[in-house]
């Protein structure tokens, strides 16, 4: 087995390759389209800058206002906590779906049916009024003695209600994403783990889930961005997140448009940060696969500008062989 590594075989030294330096094909259509877009964009920017009703001064005034900042923090908090709840429930439901026990499978199916089948706004309102449904929440043996009695009004604070509403609903969606990820992992992986003496749960945690991540992460990034925006729904429960914060302000000064722009700017900032974070997480979970994670939109735009400048033809490197 000594001479097994064939990569050590000396390759015949190739003659120095000549870089292709061709004149690119002229593409007049591209130039026209590019020109039109720039004209339209310039017109829009001019109108936004010169129309006084945009109130850019007011936007600047309130962009970092304390109420807005507090709302922003709440929005971030809600997004992350409800995604954590959602992902936790999603993993649990997806693993339940693959259980050999039919009752466990049915329970998971019922949950998904219920929470995907009703609007999240309705669910949020239910949680807000939960105290009317269950004034006392008892934890204990089902049909048996209660161990703790919690007063719903004190324990289900608006924050908890909002978190439950968003998180439990998200769990139903995440479970489908996680399930698709689990199914994407080759069955041979589970077999190999079993054959090594690993049990079901360890196999799931150590072998299947980490490899499912590659499939799970991109849609989860989208869900997180979706969640960021869905948190604005809780403004109807008078919970002071970003949107409700600006609503509070324009309720007193009537400058609706500038304040909605303030909120939009912050939502855009957050979604941009999330997209960048998603790229790095995808790259982490893509390790061990030969393929690179595709570049983000921003990177692609940057690259196409730089290839416009250098019209050298890139010859792709040979891909790594092996299964």
């Amino acid at each position: 087995m000594a001479e097994a590594d064939q990569s050590s075989e000396p390759a015949p030294a190739p003659a120095a390759p000549v870089e292709i330096n061709a004149v690119p094909v002229r593409r007049p259509g591209r130039l026209v389209a590019g020109f039109l877009i720039i004209v339209v964009a310039a017109a829009l920017i001019k109108s936004a800058a010169t129309n006084p009703r945009f109130g850019w001064g007011t936007v600047g005034e309130y962009l970092f206002a304390p109420t807005v900042m507090e709302g922003l923090v709440k929005t971030i908090e809600l997004t992350f906590l409800s995604m954590i709840i959602g992902i936790g429930i999603g993993v649990l439901l997806a693993v339940m779906r693959l259980s050999p026990n039919p009752i466990v499978v049915a329970a998971s199916g019922f949950y998904i049916w219920l929470f995907r089948g009703t609007p999240v706004l309705v669910q949020l309102l239910f949680w807000a009024f939960i105290a009317a449904l269950y004034p006392v929440i008892s934890l204990g043996v089902p049909f048996g003695p209660a161990l703790v009695n919690l007063d719903a009004n004190t324990w289900i604070t608006p924050f908890v209600a909002v978190l439950l509403g968003l998180g439990l609903n998200e769990g139903a969606y995440m479970s489908e994403i996680v399930r698709a990820g689990l199914l994407s992992v080759d069955e041979g992986q589970e077999e190999a783990a079993k054959a090594l003496g690993m049990r079901r749960m360890m196999t799931m945690r150590r072998v299947i889930l980490p490899q499912a991540m590659r499939v799970i992460i991109p849609p989860t990034g989208n869900e997180t961005i979706g969640m960021l925006k869905t948190t604005s729904l809780v403004s109807v429960l008078a919970y002071t997140e970003l949107l409700y914060a600006v609503q509070l302000i324009y309720a007193t000064n009537y400058k609706q448009i500038p304040l909605l722009i303030v909120a939009s700017i912050w939502y855009l900032v957050l979604t941009t940060i999330l997209s960048i974070g998603q790229y790095f997480i995808e790259r982490h979970y893509g390790r061990g696969t030969a393929r690179e994670v595709p570049p983000t939109l921003l990177m692609r735009i940057w690259q196409s500008f730089s290839t416009w400048r250098h019209t050298r033809v890139e010859i792709p490197e040979p891909t790594r062989h092996g299964l």
Partner: protein, 254 residues
């Protein structure tokens, strides 16, 4: 019981109405290398998977090293054993697959130490030292940090063998370990298996490599349609097959 490493008695296995194993009876002695041959679909893989209880048998018995596989007998009654006990039985039985099945998100080293650390409770540095020894043994001492996708098929299969050996099994099952390999990579894997056999490992090898079976096998078993058609030492089975089905099969593969 006997002192056989594997003892199979009238093993039957059905998938739905499709009876795949129709009464397999055979013994594998400690240190023996048994090569299992037969046409595709004859039940070779299924039988191998029954030995480590990846498949449940419908009737008959299998013992590995004197222990009934998957069950405990109390009087006349068989009791299924728990998932934990099944897993413990499997620790003793290494398995190597046609498609390697290395964990794609782990390096070669991580693949090898995973079960010793997580299942057998070995200290990570001890496991890593052992992984290095095993990788040297399969000729890949310098590829500990490679991910499976960065290795050729032959290299992956050698890592897979090292991974199975890391649990210090008393028995190794190989299911067509070279069938997914390019012809020029078959030799390096067979070399590792040859060395393992010389070390006295008990092995059951499903293979179409008749050269390997002749040279390394102590016994050759020819299976067809869920039954053992013929078995014996390699010379007599290959050179003087008694059964028409064996003759027909050998004339195709030799």
């Amino acid at each position: 019981m006997s002192d056989a490493m594997i003892k199979a008695e009238a093993v039957h296995k059905r998938f739905g109405r499709n009876e795949v194993l129709k009464g397999i009876t055979l013994d594998v002695a400690p240190g023996e290398v048994m090569c299992l041959l037969g046409p595709s679909g004859s039940g070779k893989s299924t039988f191998l998977r029954c030995i480590n209880h990846l498949e449940k048998i419908n009737s008959g018995r299998i013992w590995v090293d004197g222990n009934l596989v998957g069950y405990r007998q109390k009087g006349d009654v068989l009791h299924e054993i728990s998932e934990r006990d099944v897993a413990q039985e499997r620790e003793q039985i290494g398995m190597v697959f046609q498609r390697f099945n290395l964990f794609g998100h782990m390096t070669a080293e991580q693949n090898i130490i995973e079960a010793p650390v997580r299942v057998a409770g070995l200290k990570p540095d001890v496991a890593r030292a052992e992984a290095k020894v095993l990788m040297d043994r399969v000729g890949l001492g310098d590829r500990l940090d490679a991910y499976p996708a960065q290795l050729s098929g032959g290299q992956q299969q050698r890592v897979a063998i090292a991974r199975a050996l890391a649990m210090k099994p008393k028995l190794m099952l190989f299911d067509e370990p070279t069938s997914a390999l390019d012809p020029e990579l078959v030799g390096e894997v067979l070399d590792v298996m040859r060395a393992l056999a010389a070390d006295g490992m008990t092995m059951v090898v499903v293979t179409h490599e008749t050269g390997f079976a002749k040279e390394v096998g102590d016994t050759v078993v020819f299976m067809d349609d869920g039954v053992v058609v013929e078995s014996g030492d390699p010379v007599s089975v290959f050179e003087n097959p008694q059964h028409a089905r064996t003759q027909a099969f050998l004339s195709k593969v030799l």
